[in-house]
Symmetry: C2
Subunit: 303 residues, 2 copies
């Protein structure tokens, strides 16, 4: 199948208790593409500026990702984010958000990107997500992310996007905020009632949970002695998750989504071991599969 992802490409400056980087490749679409590229050819759609160079393009193209629809805006600067994490990595503070070329981004999809079987709408303004969704009429499986900002200021548009996708991937707090439900169970079911067949609740260091009409599945995060930088973990998870779905043909079953959860969790666990894209850029499929096997051993039991 073919897979298209629309979202941000960025430079990040990040400081954690375990190190810092002044300027590294980041952005939701970047982390997604690097993770999904293990499973299928990814078409990335997103804007960059003149400051986005060959080295960054080369990293984006890791494992065959197609960057024809990465729009380089002449005279523009790439989206820049700067943040600092707390001692136990539980909180992060945003110090700088320079939207730059991302501020006026209007996704322009080539025919190749529009012809995708699977589509991932990373976190961008919901009306733009809906526009992309409408351009990809042939997509058999569409997943989306969002953020608290759009829940607060563009709720109606966001609900329209949710109604037009198959799978919503959000943090559990975002799902509760979106629906006003008192707990994750009710929030996830409220989203299922809007139309999607699957809801994934990202739970950070606790892992992730999947709700479908056919059931519930939950998986812990992979246990790590050291986490260097959590930036992009959620997008790496989404990349492994959606990429796995794209690699399967035919109808997407509950069990496919379960296996997608495991692959997303495995890739995300590597992402956080180093800064930015450093670890996933040189990751191998064998390493992914090793952690998939570990996760199976760490969660299975006989009664």
């Amino acid at each position: 199948m073919s897979l298209t992802c629309v979202g941000s490409i960025a430079f990040d400056a990040v400081k954690t208790p375990f190190g810092e980087r002044e300027r590294m490749l980041g952005g939701a679409a970047t982390h997604f593409a690097l993770a999904a590229s293990f499973f299928d050819t990814v078409h990335v759609v997103g804007p960059v500026g003149d400051d986005f160079g060959d080295a960054e393009f080369a990293t984006l193209r890791t494992r065959g990702t197609v960057t024809d629809d990465v729009e380089q805006v002449a005279g523009g600067k790439t989206f820049f984010w700067k943040g600092v994490y707390s001692e136990n990595l539980n909180q992060r503070e945003t110090l700088v958000t320079d939207l730059n070329v991302f501020e006026t981004f209007e996704p322009k999809l080539s025919q190749a990107s529009r012809d995708c079987d699977v589509l991932f709408l990373a976190n961008i303004q919901p009306d733009l997500q809906l526009g992309v969704r409408e351009q990809c009429q042939g997509a058999k499986f569409v997943a989306m992310d969002s953020m608290d900002l759009w829940i607060n200021i563009a709720h109606e548009s966001l609900v329209k996007v949710i109604q037009a996708v198959d799978c919503v991937i959000l943090n559990d707090e975002e799902l509760e905020m979106l629906t006003g439900a008192p707990n994750l169970f009710q929030a996830a079911h409220a989203v299922l009632e809007m139309g999607p067949t699957a809801v994934v609740a990202k739970q950070g260091k606790y892992g992730a949970a999947l709700y479908t009409k056919d059931g519930f599945f939950a998986l812990p995060a992979y246990p790590l002695r050291e986490v260097a930088d959590p930036t992009g973990a959620g997008d790496s998870f989404a990349g492994g998750f959606v990429g796995y779905i794209a690699s399967k043909g035919g109808e997407v079953t509950h069990d496919d989504l379960v296996r997608a959860m495991v692959h997303g969790t495995a890739v995300a666990s590597y992402n956080v071991e180093e800064f930015g894209t450093e670890r996933v850029a040189r990751l191998t499929r064998d390493e992914v599969d090793a952690r998939v096997a570990d996760l199976q051993r760490m969660t299975s039991f006989s009664v």
Copy 2:
């Protein structure tokens, strides 16, 4: 095997968004005993006052729990706790803590209680826990709970208790606070280095994780549409967990601890569906086993 639990017996006043109770049976030893009584005969050791009546004793004795070592202090009042939960149950505020007879509690164990094969030291002052541990020389498996108060004001004593037990059951925040480690992985391993063979990290609505020298296991909480009252969930979990271990003979393996995690999670999921002891008091073993089977289905996958 025989199982002894030493801890608090209380009256609780609880208010949640889903109801309130002015005065109901509570306390760590109470919730533990009700949960563990599915698996083995429990001997409860704890103090109560004159206000503790036949109805409360009857509930404590559910499924054969022995209350010979429940010390009724003449002229005394039972430990009283009053708390209120936030809208999403994520926070709780303590309004009243009247220690009453619990303030001067010195555990007095009959020979029957001292002869236990398995011992659970619920959250009481660490020096008292150590005294009980020393009285139960024949115990083959000893587990303990504690709280942030003792981590802060009795750290040295607490470490001595930890060095003398097989299994530590704490919240993940408490494990990090106890050890000063930056994450749960390092905190759990630091506790394993103190002597115990198993560390259980309770993670509230996210479930629980197990660390042993042989590996890692994690299990989500059972997904519930409605949670009425989280009070006693951790103690019910401990009761199901330790009770399951007590019901097995011989050496305690990693796989036994894994199955104990599942049984603890199943019992705790019922505890929170109603207030205080209401649900677990009338729970059946078949209902416990049904959720154990559910949990297996909800967490297993093929690759």
